[in-house]
Amino acid sequence: MGSPIKIKAKLKGDVAEVKALMPHPMESGVRVDADTGQPVPKHYIQEVVCKHNGKVVTTAFWGTGVSKDPYMAFSFKNAKAGDKLEISWRDNTGDSSVTEVDLK
């Protein structure tokens, strides 16, 4: 199980503005370990799914070109206080993480 996702969601009228931070190494497979001289294997998030009350509002597909500890921001309409926002990711090793917050 990966680290929990840090989610900041702010309601502006019926629009939810969401910022998410996902602690993850995001190894591209290109970096060489300074001690061993060996390339560090690829280890990166491939898919992020964002659900509003169980319904997918945004899916992000990522390659190795997204920075370490990825940050993403997005917004969606028809949101109100008390609604559930769930963000989950899955990486290339099959590891995953899911975090849910209430909008307020």
């Binding site: 597909f61 920075s67 940050y71």
Partner: protein
């Protein structure tokens, strides 16, 4: 007989549900496009139509990135019916950095932080109403972000 009718009704409901699926059905990750080594190959894998430069697509990214490991990028557009937003870094080993699939509830405004190995053209392609629109910018990188 009664059971059969129930099964028939159930299958009709299933068919209706399948037909009712909107065109915003979320697709699978385009793995091939993410493995491509050339930006042109990414574009032809992902977009089956002409891509038009559009001033309705706003790409926000610094002119000079002091640290290529963390380059903030935002894409927004006023175009209606936005289905996806992709971010492509031409000179990265694998140019496709990210592709966001949006829903009808989405506001077409996303941000993400990307890595840049060297100075490069960064482009975004927005799919809206079945058509493709782009914006691009040349970004200078002082310290590359792929070697670590």
């Amino acid at each position: 007989m009664k059971l059969q009718r129930r099964a028939l009704i159930r299958s009709l409901f299933t068919a209706a549900a399948v037909l009712a699926v909107p065109r915003w059905l979320f697709a699978a990750r385009p793995d091939k496009a993410f493995d491509e080594k050339k930006a042109d190959a990414v574009l032809s894998d992902l977009f089956d139509g002409p891509i038009t430069e559009s001033d309705q697509v706003t790409l926000k990214i610094p002119d000079i990135a002091e640290n290529g490991a963390v380059v903030p990028v935002s894409v927004s557009t006023d175009l209606p019916d936005v289905e996806s937003i992709s971010v492509i870094v031409d000179n990265n080993p694998t140019p496709l950095a990210a592709m966001f699939e949006l829903s009808p509830d989405s506001v077409a405004d996303i941000s993400v932080r990307i890595k840049m190995g060297e100075s490069s053209v960064v482009r975004t392609v927005v799919k809206a109403g079945g058509k493709f629109y782009s914006a691009s910018k040349e970004v200078k990188v002082t310290i590359g972000g792929c070697g670590g």
